[in-house]
């Protein structure tokens, strides 16, 4: 069920120099499956480095990244094929738009794959729909779009490659609450309807709690926690220890416990908290 395996992966920036930085330290992980996986960790925890190892932008200093059991660096000349199979959307991806029209820009990836014209056109249309962009925007210049539209066009550019695994680094960074919900909701829907394995890197606990099936917490280049939302948020003191914030609602549940009201340790969404409290007083379920 898993497609990617990281085997004893370490990554060191500036290896051999006096100021070398060990960004990842002996990581062993299985990733993939038809789920949404969230990577959390504060800046410098190694999560962005990990993203770049998955599609061969960076090469591990030691250890192996296996895709369907094969080392992606087995033949370094074929690393491009790996990048088509593991699609990565970088942080603030709107800055990668360059072509004359939105259509051409989204087609950049599929064109590099050497697909037929008809196939490319079909993929562009599908990708635009997945990303929630109007088809009428296809012939506009990407630089005429609004900020949110640009972000979605960039996302479509990666979806159009139909990767087996879609990796997104902070897809909602800098967006307002409505924009966050919109783009994360789109990604979740894309994951469900296409069955693609999606990996999201984010700082926002609230977002991760809402959209992810599995959460991996990184700290100081190592995997600190790995589990479902309720497993991870249930150990919220450990989250605080690795410098992460927990959803405000988790604090409320903790405070309630001090008042003798135990609604469980795995509280991470407001709706669940409300229904737990209401069930205590025999109220309606929501």
């Amino acid at each position: 069920m898993y497609q990617i395996e990281l085997k004893n992966v370490s990554f060191v920036y500036g290896a051999g120099e006096p100021y070398e930085i060990r960004a990842l330290d002996n990581i062993n992980l299985h990733l993939g499956g038809s789920v949404m996986t969230g990577f959390m960790g504060h800046t410098g925890s190694g999560k962005s480095t990990l993203v770049q190892l998955l599609n061969g932008i960076l090469k591990p200093t030691s250890g192996q990244v296996l895709l369907d059991g094969k080392d992606i660096w087995e033949d370094p000349k074929k690393i491009r094929d790996i990048r088509f199979r593991v699609g990565v959307v970088m942080q603030y991806p709107e800055y990668q738009l360059f072509d004359e029209t939105v259509r051409d820009d989204i087609a950049f990836g599929p064109k590099n794959m050497g697909l037929s014209k008809e196939e490319i056109e079909q993929r562009v249309i599908d990708a635009v729909h997945f990303a929630g962009l109007d088809e009428s925007l296809l012939d506009k210049s990407p630089f005429e779009l609004s900020g949110g539209q640009k972000r979605r066009a960039a996302l479509a550019g990666v979806i159009a490659m139909r990767p087996e695994i879609l990796v997104l680094d902070e897809p909602a960074a800098g967006l307002d609450p409505g924009g966050r919900r919109e783009i994360l909701g789109r990604i979740r829907e894309f994951q469900r309807s296409s069955g693609t394995s999606v990996i999201i890197v984010s700082h926002s606990m609230e977002d991760m709690a809402m959209y992810c099936d599995r959460i991996i917490v990184m700290s100081a280049g190592k995997v600190a926690m790995d589990g479902t939302c309720s497993e991870v948020f249930g150990r919220y003191n450990e989250l605080l220890d690795v410098g992460l914030d927990v959803p405000q609602i988790t604090y409320v549940a903790d405070e309630l416990r001090k008042h003798g009201i135990d609604i469980g340790a795995d509280i991470y969404t407001v709706k669940y908290a409300a229904s737990q409290i209401l069930s205590k007083i025999g109220g309606r379920q929501i």
């Binding site: 504060h42 800046t43 609004s146 900020g147 949110g148 960074a173 800098g174 967006l175 307002d176 609450p177 409505g178 924009g179 700082h203 926002s204 609230e206 410098g243 992460l244 914030d245 959803p247 405000q248 609602i249 604090y251 409320v252 903790d254 405070e255 309630l256 001090k258 008042h259 003798g260 009201i261 407001v270 709706k271 908290a273 409300a274 409290i277 209401l278 205590k280 007083i281 109220g283 309606r284 929501i286």
Partner: protein
């Protein structure tokens, strides 16, 4: 306390390339900011909040209406460059992208940049720069390279640059939007401290609800108009109104609101998790007491 900034009947539309009439980014906005206050301006992207900030910092000129800074109408016809420069000595601005507002390679030289523009003697600049760096907690980094700092540190350097010019009012134009949670907290702590301890008027433009909770007053913008205006308690206790215009409320408020809707008699104007829990516990106790009888 006097009013440091007033805007009267402000209307503005961004010019379009093909000369078509664009939708107004601001429509008849009236607002006045008390000296020493902390005002948060909320709104989704395109609500007009950043345009308003650019008006108040005199980067943009309104189509109609007036921006009045410390009693001087800056939109009058006879306003000279000199007047604008004078007004800018009172009102400073910190922008969204930390990289695009730092001029110098070395931290302290960047903080000095604005003060140098005022034509103040060298020894006094030194003194002001040191003081400003101390106020934002960046003294240790005075001789560091600015591009190597974290996002939150860069924004604190930008803030130091503004306070070194001894301005009375700082407008933060989504200054926390590009930062990670750690950076955001650093910057918010600095902003709150400057307002409470140094009496600097703060106008904080943001779409993070949690940041608006620190303010004395919250102004919500939508479609170029002032949509709500009141204390954080007043504004956030009406979550439906905010959800309607694609904004959020703090999770605590959302929880209390949901509970109230389902028959638990709680106040909905609480943000602190501890207070929120206490309120819920009390309400639950009242309820079971009533049933017990």
């Amino acid at each position: 306390m006097g009013k440091i900034i007033e805007v009267k009947d402000l209307t503005f539309a961004y010019p379009t390339e093909d000369g078509e009439a664009a939708r107004n980014a601001l429509e008849h906005v009236n607002l006045s900011i008390e000296e020493g206050s902390f005002v948060a301006i909320l709104g989704h992207n395109g609500s007009g909040k950043s345009t308003l900030a650019k008006m108040m910092s005199l980067v943009l000129v309104p189509d109609s209406g007036a921006v009045i800074i410390r009693g001087k109408n800056m939109s009058a016809d006879d306003v000279t460059d000199e007047d604008v420069l004078k007004a800018r000595r009172d009102v400073g601005m910190v922008f969204q992208n930390p990289d695009n507002q730092i001029v110098a390679t070395i931290v302290e030289e960047d903080v000095a940049f604005g003060v140098e523009n005022l034509g103040i003697p060298s020894e006094k600049i030194r003194h002001r720069v040191d003081e400003a760096l101390r106020l934002v907690g960046m003294t240790k980094y005075a001789r560091h390279m600015s591009h190597k700092l974290s996002g939150g540190q860069k924004q604190r350097v930008a803030i130091a640059g503004v306070i070194a010019m001894r301005r009375k009012c700082i407008i933060f134009d989504e200054s926390t939007a590009m930062l990670d949670p750690v950076g955001r907290k650093e910057v918010m702590d600095t902003i709150v401290r400057l307002n409470r301890e140094e009496g600097i008027t703060v106008l904080h433009i943001t779409h993070y609800m949690n940041e608006a909770m620190h303010a004395d007053r919250v102004v919500v913008m939508d479609q170029g108009k002032v949509f709500m205006d009141g204390t954080p308690e007043e504004v956030f206790s009406q979550p439906e109104k905010l959800w309607d215009i694609r904004l959020d409320v703090p999770q605590t408020t959302e929880l209390l609101y949901l509970l109230k809707q389902n028959g638990l008699n709680v106040r909905t104007d609480i943000f602190e998790p501890a207070e929120c829990a206490a309120e819920i516990a009390e309400a639950m106790k009242r309820m079971t007491d009533v049933r017990g009888k």
